[in-house]
């Protein structure tokens, strides 16, 4: 075979790979969108489920996901930021720092169900928080933490050294320099990372399975110690455990679409934010 032919064939194969990947994505998005859009209405988004879940909407699940996410962010963001500040501003190269980084990388690879197991023992049982928004939020917070740390560190890296050094040269203490000359410029980048982490946490089911998610609650949660409904868990039950699977299939598609839409909305805002911020920093 001539060299030119192999080259053409090879590149065609590569193109085929890319096309196939795009095709996968396209099929997924198309299926969810086409079968779910028919169910979406203002009613669907604002009403609770009725008639044994075969009618009505999914508002409690949307609210539940939102409430858990607040706890997740409240936990993972400060911790993540502080850890990132340490790693980027204070840490000296050495074994401890390497171990910390190794631990972070490994934490991001821990299976979500293992986080769920850990959450059940630590938050639900040991800390007596029971199955609740709080337990689930903290469990998800742990899951999001490695991601938040990495994203915040990336944000800190983009702040030019000159900012920091200028402040130090003028006699500021290290913390003062960080506080006034680094953090404010890193915040938008950190925000991006936080929103992306949030998008990921919102879609997770395994960690909330046993730490607080419930299929049907007749009332909205009244405090963070209550159980809650959540979009991903709702989809799971509608698809497998409901007593009239065929009838609620359209609602399942609608739930999938809302969940996907929420995650994509969050992701896009984060990416847009990052883009605007990078433009800002350039100028």
């Amino acid at each position: 075979m001539s060299k030119k032919f192999t080259e053409r064939l090879g590149f065609a194969l590569l193109a085929a790979c890319a096309v196939l990947v795009l095709l996968f994505l396209g099929i997924i998005l198309f299926d969810i969108f086409s079968k779910g859009i028919g169910v979406i209405s203002w009613n669907f988004l604002s009403q609770p489920p009725k008639q044994g879940m075969t009618e009505g909407g999914i508002f409690p699940a949307i609210l539940g996901t939102f409430l858990v996410s607040i706890i997740t962010v409240a936990f993972a963001v400060p911790l993540g930021m502080f850890a990132a500040v340490y790693l980027h501003e204070y840490a000296r190269p050495g074994r401890t720092t390497r171990m910390i980084r190794l631990a972070i990388r490994n934490l991001s690879g821990v299976p979500s169900i293992v986080y769920g197991l850990f959450g059940v023992v630590l938050f639900v049982q040991l800390m007596h928080l029971g199955t609740s928004i709080l337990s689930a939020g903290l469990t998800l917070g742990l899951l999001t933490l490695p991601w938040t740390i990495t994203a915040c560190e990336e944000a800190l890296k983009t702040v030019p050294k000159a900012y920091r050094e200028g402040a130090l040269a003028l006699g500021a203490t290290k913390w003062h320099a960080i506080r006034t000359n680094v953090l404010p410029y890193a915040i938008p980048g950190m925000l991006t990372g936080v929103i992306l982490g949030l998008a990921r946490a919102a879609g997770e089911t395994a960690p909330i399975l046993f730490t607080g998610a419930a299929f049907f609650l007749p009332h909205l949660p009244g405090s963070i110690f209550d159980q809650f409904m959540a979009l991903p868990y709702h989809l799971y039950i509608l698809a497998t455990q409901h007593h009239d699977i065929a009838k609620v299939r359209p609602i399942a598609y609608g739930t999938a679409l809302v969940l996907l839409g929420l995650i994509l909305l969050l992701s896009f805002s984060a990416i847009w934010l990052r883009y605007r911020y990078r433009q800002g920093l350039k100028g």
Partner: protein, 301 residues
């Protein structure tokens, strides 16, 4: 644009929301909690709906999770009523005693566990023994029982299911095959068998029979014989189940903590009243059998 003030404002918003949320609001005190059997959940939800219509001010929440989950919740004092499609095990009775819970049983309906096949499967009757062997994995191909040459594809429930336990106790008398697919509920088994020409599964009769006794589309209900010498009967016919001719019948139960009173007692009485039993029929199940009705009466219901 992104000043420190925005950052602090954001933190404050989060803290505020969290604080607000942690103030417990009135959370439906006086609500009756019902948890447990997936076989019963649809039926009891309907009963609860009608009862709530007639008794505004009463709130009843019905969820599934399997008989085992319901009983565990009763023992943990997390539910008022445990729906259970099987009886309490010795271990559960002990655990209840230890937890200070005295299980009060009410039988409110009858079920004939239906064995379902794909409509194209020519097999129409089997003995209990053959069924047991099929689900244990000892009979692996449909041709061994008069069907087509296809590997039998088993659908069953998970160990928290009362139906799973009951079927194992009375039909298999042994362990399920490791190749049986564990589905999350009756409806998922029905869905699986509808799509699987070699499929067989077991489900509560209310999931496969409609409000006037007709078989729901997409599945076929097997006739089951007690043994080789007996006749095979179909659970869709009420008479077969009520007289015990159909060999895989069972009462559908609810367990409470001690004899109920007040609104809880009213709800229990409603379920076994003629109106309640009519609803049971409409959901595809059968009314309480005579001996269980007597049992209920003896307890004061």
């Amino acid at each position: 644009m992104f000043r420190k003030s925005w950052y602090f404002a954001g933190l404050f918003a989060i803290a505020f929301t969290t604080l607000v949320l942690s103030v417990p609001m009135a959370n439906g005190q006086g609500m009756i909690q019902v948890k447990g059997s997936d076989s019963e959940v649809n039926l009891v939800q309907r009963l609860a709906e009608v009862f709530m219509q007639k008794n505004p001010g009463v709130n009843i929440s019905v969820t599934g999770g399997g008989s085992g989950t319901g009983i565990a919740a009763l023992i943990n004092k997390q539910t008022d009523i445990a729906n259970s499609s099987r009886e309490l095990s010795a271990k559960e009775e002990e655990a209840a005693k230890k937890a200070g819970v005295s299980p009060f049983r009410v039988a409110f309906a009858t079920d004939g566990i239906s064995v379902i096949l794909h409509p194209e499967n020519p097999v129409s009757k089997l003995t209990v023994d053959q069924l047991g062997k099929i689900f244990k994995g000892e009979i692996g191909n449909w041709k061994e029982v008069g069907g087509p040459d296809m590997k039998i594809s088993l659908y069953g429930r998970q160990s928290n299911s009362g139906t799973y336990v009951f079927f194992r106790e009375f039909v298999l008398k042994g362990d399920y095959s490791q190749h049986m697919k564990s589905m999350n509920g009756n409806a998922q088994i029905v869905e699986g068998v509808q799509r699987d020409k070699a499929g067989v599964g077991y489900a509560a009769v209310g999931y496969v029979v409609g409000s006037s006794g007709e078989v729901k589309p997409g599945v076929k209900i097997l006739n089951v014989a007690k043994d080789e010498k007996s006749e095979a009967y179909n659970p869709a016919k009420m008479e077969n189940v009520m007289t015990g001719k159909y060999p895989i019948s069972r009462p559908l139960n609810q367990y409470l903590n001690g004899k109920p009173s007040g609104k809880l007692l009213d709800f229990m009485k409603f379920q076994i009243s003629p109106e309640g039993q009519e609803i049971v029929r409409k959901q595809g199940f059968f009314p309480v059998q005579a001996n269980w009705a007597e049992f209920n009466r003896k307890q004061g219901l």
